[in-house]
Assembly symmetry: C2
Homo-oligomer: 233 residues x 2
DNA sequence: CCTAGTTTATGCCTTGTAGGCGAAAACTCG
DNA sequence: CGAGTTTTCGCCTACAAGGCATAAACTAGG
């Protein structure tokens, strides 16, 4: 390994943390964006975040920065997504960015500052830097994890009916999800359970829907997911 | 968002890139480690890597640095793993590290410098910094991806018999993998195909084994993997 | 040349998950 | 009470994963 002191100061670079904060809003998967007031990319939309502080960890930093945008307690899930360090990604000089994926349950309407807004993740406004690509990474990650983890807990409110939940899944996945099948899959996996209560059905009557909740509200990987699993004893 | 200029210089930090380079060696999953000659962690083992250069991207940088350890052409796969930025992770000052996962096919024996060595991934020597934890992340990632991608191509040689391949999977997964089932799974998924040739079986005779190859030698996600998939047309 | 031993390949079967579909249940409204 | 609506349940199919026994194809020894 070469002597690291030889190029010590050349490897110093600004580092920022960003977050792709997603929420289902009016049946659409939406992302929280911030409108830049200054060049570069003035008046373009970018991901919330900012410079990494001197003595804070990466996750710590993005939580602090997000607290200026949404109440941190609104985030049901936060995980590291990817780090980008292309030399040309920031016009004003070398800047690395570590992006996180954050999820806000659908029942919450966080107070957000005037310079931020929710945008449909499938119809992004003009965005600065490489942030549009990062949003796509976040969507991909969410879609994949809906398949083999219990990450739905971070999209849904604490209690929900199966038809509500299927609409959340539809918005996040981009295609129809049959409530019948969703119920069976999640029940068999032990991800959800009935609360025992039920709510009268929507606008025009119908059978009252049972209420469900996620049994665990932090990320778990579906054990039966792995193929080529160890021979069972 | 706060004025980033207010703390511009405080967010400058050293950034390094590291690699968890894995290979199946003598039936064991092994990781390439470098023995430090200087404090901190003198004589401990650490991951290969080093400071990020001024004008290079992250992936570019780790490829360059690995070229000093293993021939870059030996790497069949390289992907970003995670970024660590804990303030206390480096005793000499703030250092962020972006780790990559690299895989070397089992038939290659790369020329490596004298200060590096392969170690069993399940029996690591005393390691510096947080690098042991990063190795564990790499193992987890590999194990998971063996389940739902064709990443086996990066562990196996270009051609192999099913019993060879099942030994590679066993070493990487840490449990027995029946050659019969592996064959069916990978064939059905279209990941592997017969070459048409066969080799006489090993030491004490037996039916000659058919040779297989991976159809695609770059990462692909198994399409049928997703649950809650779109309704088929 | 034949047989025993070894290894690989094939076929049959069981299990379990995903998912479609229709009937039944449980409500609202007129 | 009956029509319309929504949810729930049960039945069925499709298919992947995986266990196991047997067949196939070779080597080596007598």
């Amino acid at each position: 390994m070469q002597d690291s002191r030889a190029e010590t100061h050349t490897s110093m670079a600004a580092h920022e943390v960003l977050a792709v904060v997603l929420q289902i809003r009016q049946e659409r998967l939406s992302v929280l964006l911030w409108r830049r007031a200054r060049p570069p990319f003035e008046k373009c939309w970018v991901l919330p975040g900012g410079r990494l502080g001197t003595a804070e960890g990466l996750g710590e930093s993005i939580r602090r920065q997000l607290a200026q945008k949404v109440d941190v307690r609104d985030l049901a899930h936060l995980e590291q997504l990817e780090t980008r360090g292309d030399p040309g990604r920031h016009p004003h000089g070398r800047t690395l960015a570590t992006a996180y994926l954050g999820l806000v349950p659908a029942d919450i309407d966080p107070v957000i500052p005037g310079d931020t807004a929710w945008h449909p993740a499938s119809d992004l406004p003009p965005m600065g830097f490489d942030h549009a690509a990062i949003v796509h990474s976040g969507r991909r990650r969410l879609r994949a994890k809906l398949s083999y983890t219990n990450i739905g807990f971070a999209l849904a409110p604490p209690e929900f009916t199966m038809s509500e939940l299927s609409r959340y899944y539809r918005a996040a996945l981009g295609h129809d999800v049959a409530a019948t099948n969703l119920r069976r899959v999640l029940l068999r996996r032990g991800q959800i359970e009935e609360t025992g209560e039920s709510v009268p059905s929507g606008r025009s009557g119908g059978r009252p829907a049972a209420l469900f909740r996620f049994r665990v509200r932090r990320l778990e990987i579906t054990d039966a997911f792995a193929v080529l699993r160890p021979p069972q004893v």
